[in-house]
Amino acid sequence: MHAKRKKRLTIVLFLLCGLGVAVALSTYALRQNISLFYDPSQIAAGEAPGEVRIRAGGMVEEGSVKRDLDSLKVNFRVTDYTASVTMQYDGILPDLFAEGQGVVATGRLQPDGVFIADQVLAKHDEQYMPPEVAESLERAAMLKKTVDKPAEGSASGY
């Protein structure tokens, strides 16, 4: 084999190795770290797995937020107006967290049906609805009554 071809072969092999390592690492990491979204109806129907981290979201039920008296523990119910799920969180809730607002939480579903959240997201714009939540509400055929259409050109970044 020519020296030149040999060198080319080495380079190609190097590139393939790098690519292979990247692909292997990322598929492994993906398998570990994907979290799927479930809405309260799916959770009530027992479709959500208990062992892995999932995301769940909906509207925070009016009057459901209960705080612990001497820590930052908080309980609230999240609903899509057909079913609801109790969430528990220990920490600081985002600024836009409020009853009647849409939220998305990441965490694990316990066997007793309580969702222990390690992260709660409410977006920075009060007119904004997390798409997952909007979709699940649509499914619950309640969208018209609960949210207005997001206003055109409502605040965005950059």
């Binding site: 190097f14 990322s26 799927l36 930052l72 600024d95 920075h124 050109g153």
Partner: protein, 675 residues
């Protein structure tokens, strides 16, 4: 009247851009010098009309012209004037105008600073940039004109700028970022012009190198500013969220970093030509991908709200046209280009190639993490999210590998490096890095494997770089004389590499040894982090220009000695009624103390987040080093020398190896690889 003039000048800019995209190109292909000569004036005209449009929009903001829909949606008469100014690019339409004006600005800069380039080449480069400008101007005029009026029902006052964006960070972050994104269009235009001509040589690489380096420097600063802004303004002390929009800026940066290095090889040694061209195309395509991701509304993030699907389709079409046409051209023309330069397996060429491989691996990881959820969602296979753990697991090892490789690469020579000689040079960096990597965890009181590895890698890069400076500055006439003999691009490289080491050190230490506590506190309570005590002294109300705030007073002391007093705030902005968290930060080179006020959880009790952030400033300090390094490299003499004058004077006589006698190559000099 003025806003209509703004719209007219956008249309005029579009017409000029259309001429720029065609006339000089036709001229250069048919050999008519007269037509080629139109390129420079057209580039200037296009910029002037965009600048006029931008000035008119700025004026509309300054005089509170709420009959302009964009102004009404993003400003308010109570907004301080500097935020009215930055609100010009506070939302989609205006930021697109800024983007396009910067594109025209780069085009004009190329027209001005490339007088020594062959006329045909410059005509083609400017024409290609004109085509890109046509794309963006059409996009702006069809889907998102900033000059649309609300008539006759002019609102009495504006809807205000999103309070998150009322901040110094926003004034500077987007322009810097866009300078970077758009700057890569110059490298792209040079690459396409070279493909058209079939002239992919060292001269081509030398022409496009300074432009790429400047764009890269701006992008580095832009990303760092975004990270800094997220750190203090989003309120909770995170500095990188692997948010798809952040990734959208990281992708072109990774490709750009690879490009800067690969251009160095192409310029110095005339190899990797096809690869470099491909990288230039890739880098700019990723900039466009970033624009698409951010602007189309496919993402849910701070940056992307309430978008129009038309805009997404338009940008996707623009991206597709760019990629397909440039890759088609590449497929037809690239095989023409080949080189017959030899290099050994331990040469600098190979180390830079490996750098490129790792950059591509990192890029692929981020790309997969960003696009995979979008594709699944599009195919209706479920909504997933890929968060931090994925990137920590995959990106960190690649970053470590980049650093370890760099330490070796710094000492390597073009063509061939003696393995024994290389090994001998690596002993000291290895020893020093080991010592530092052991000391840092000891100092912080706990051993973390990732902290050890990260500190070792950062120290490895820094020590190797400094040792290289030490060797290169050795001279019979004293060290100062020796140091002066090195070129500016060499010091640019040194700063760039040190910057990476600083950023890595900061990221490692703050993520392994940062302490964060969420506590419930009432006035009078004290909470501690390590040796630090945080006393919640009082809380009261404060009136700002356009907000009302509840301000807490937190006294921080260390073993009883007061250190500082912090005033975290919870602000309510009057117009949008939105609530913002303004953190209280005591910044320092070695640590930040960070207090954020959460919500009120009881009659008198508040949620508080207390944080100790060691070396967090190093993250952004490193980026400043990189950017200064980039600018220094561009200031190198050889970019201003008229003809092919060898810059070899600057070298410290470090040439070794096979010496195949490429003396005619300008700057055939091992000391001058730019970061």
């Amino acid at each position: 009247m003025l806003p209509e003039l703004g719209q007219f000048s956008l249309i005029l800019a579009l017409l000029l851009a259309c001429l720029l995209a065609t006339v000089p190109l036709v001229g250069s292909l048919t050999g008519r010098d007269g037509l080629q000569a139109f390129a420079r004036p057209l580039a200037a005209g296009q910029f002037v009309f965009l600048a006029v449009a931008f000035g008119i929009l700025t004026h509309a903001f300054m005089v509170d012209d709420f009959s302009v829909s964009y102004v009404a949606n993003n400003s308010n008469s109570m907004l301080p004037w500097y935020y009215k100014f930055s609100a010009v690019w506070g939302s989609h339409e205006g930021s697109l105008l800024l983007w396009t004006m910067i594109l025209a600005g780069w085009t004009l800069a190329v027209a001005i600073f490339s007088r020594r380039l062959p006329a045909a080449m410059i005509a083609q480069v400017l024409a290609i940039m004109g085509m890109i400008c046509v794309g963006f101007l059409l996009f702006m005029l069809i889907t998102s004109s900033p000059f649309v009026r609300i008539l006759p029902d002019v609102p009495a006052d504006g809807a205000d700028l999103n309070p998150l964006l009322q901040d110094f960070g926003l004034i500077v972050h987007p322009p810097m970022l866009y300078m970077g994104y758009v700057g890569f269009s110059v490298a792209f235009a040079f690459a396409i012009a070279a493909l058209i001509n079939g002239r992919l040589d060292a001269a081509w690489a030398r022409w496009s190198r300074p432009w790429t380096t400047v764009a890269w420097a701006f992008l580095s600063i832009g990303i760092a500013l975004g990270s800094w802004w997220a750190y203090y303004e989003l309120g909770w002390g995170g500095w990188w969220f692997w948010d798809p929009v952040e990734n959208a800026s990281l992708l072109p940066w990774l490709a750009g970093t690879a490009l800067v290095h690969s251009l160095a090889v192409t310029e110095k040694r005339g190899v990797f030509k096809s690869w470099t061209v491909l990288l230039a195309i890739l880098t700019f395509s990723l900039s466009l991908l970033g624009a698409f991701l951010v602007r189309s509304g496919v993402l849910t993030s701070v940056h992307a709200f309430a978008s129009d699907p038309e805009r997404g389709k338009f940008l996707l079409a623009l991206l597709a046209i760019t990629i397909i046409s440039s890759l088609t051209l590449y497929a037809f023309r690239a095989p023409v280009v080949h080189s017959r330069v030899r290099y050994g397996s331990l040469s600098r060429e190979v180390f830079l190639l490996l750098n490129n491989v790792l950059m591509m691996a990192a890029l692929l990881l981020v790309l997969v993490g960003t696009l995979y959820p979008l594709i699944l969602d599009y195919l209706d296979l479920g909504r997933i999210s890929i968060g931090e753990p994925f990137y920590n697991l995959t990106f960190s090892p690649v970053a470590i590998a980049v650093a370890l490789l760099m330490g070796v690469g710094i000492f390597s020579r073009w063509k061939k490096t003696d393995a024994g000689w290389l090994g001998k040079h690596l002993l000291w960096p290895a020893a020093w890095s080991l010592v530092i990597a052991v000391l840092v965890p000891l100092w912080h009181g706990s051993f973390e494997p990732w902290a050890f590895i990260g500190c070792f890698a950062a120290a490895w890069v820094a020590v190797a770089t400094l040792q290289d400076v030490w060797h290169k500055s050795a001279s019979r006439h004293g060290r100062w004389h020796g140091a002066q003999r090195q070129s500016r691009s060499y010091y640019g490289m040194v700063l760039g590499h040190l910057g990476l080491a600083i950023t890595m050190a900061g990221a490692t230490v703050v993520s392994n040894y940062g302490i964060e506590r969420d506590v419930r506190m009432s006035p009078g309570d004290t909470a501690s982090i390590g040796e630090l005590q945080f006393e919640f002294a009082a809380i009261g109300n404060r009136e700002g220009a356009n907000f009302t705030a509840q301000t807490a007073q937190v006294n921080v002391s260390k073993n009883g000695d007061p250190i500082t007093t912090l005033y975290p705030e919870k602000r309510q902005y009057r117009v949008q009624q939105s609530i913002m968290t303004e953190a209280g930060i005591d910044g320092g080179l070695f640590r930040d103390l960070f207090v954020a006020l959460g919500e009120q959880v009881g009659d008198n009790a508040w949620a508080m987040r207390l944080q100790y952030k060691p070396l967090v400033r190093w993250l952004w300090l490193g980026a400043i080093f990189m950017a200064v390094g980039g600018l220094l490299a561009v200031a190198d003499k050889r970019y201003r020398i008229k003809e092919k004058l060898p810059a070899a004077k600057a070298g410290a006589g470090t040439k070794t190896g096979a010496g195949t006698g490429r003396g005619t190559d300008p700057g055939n000099d091992s000391a001058e690889v730019t970061a």
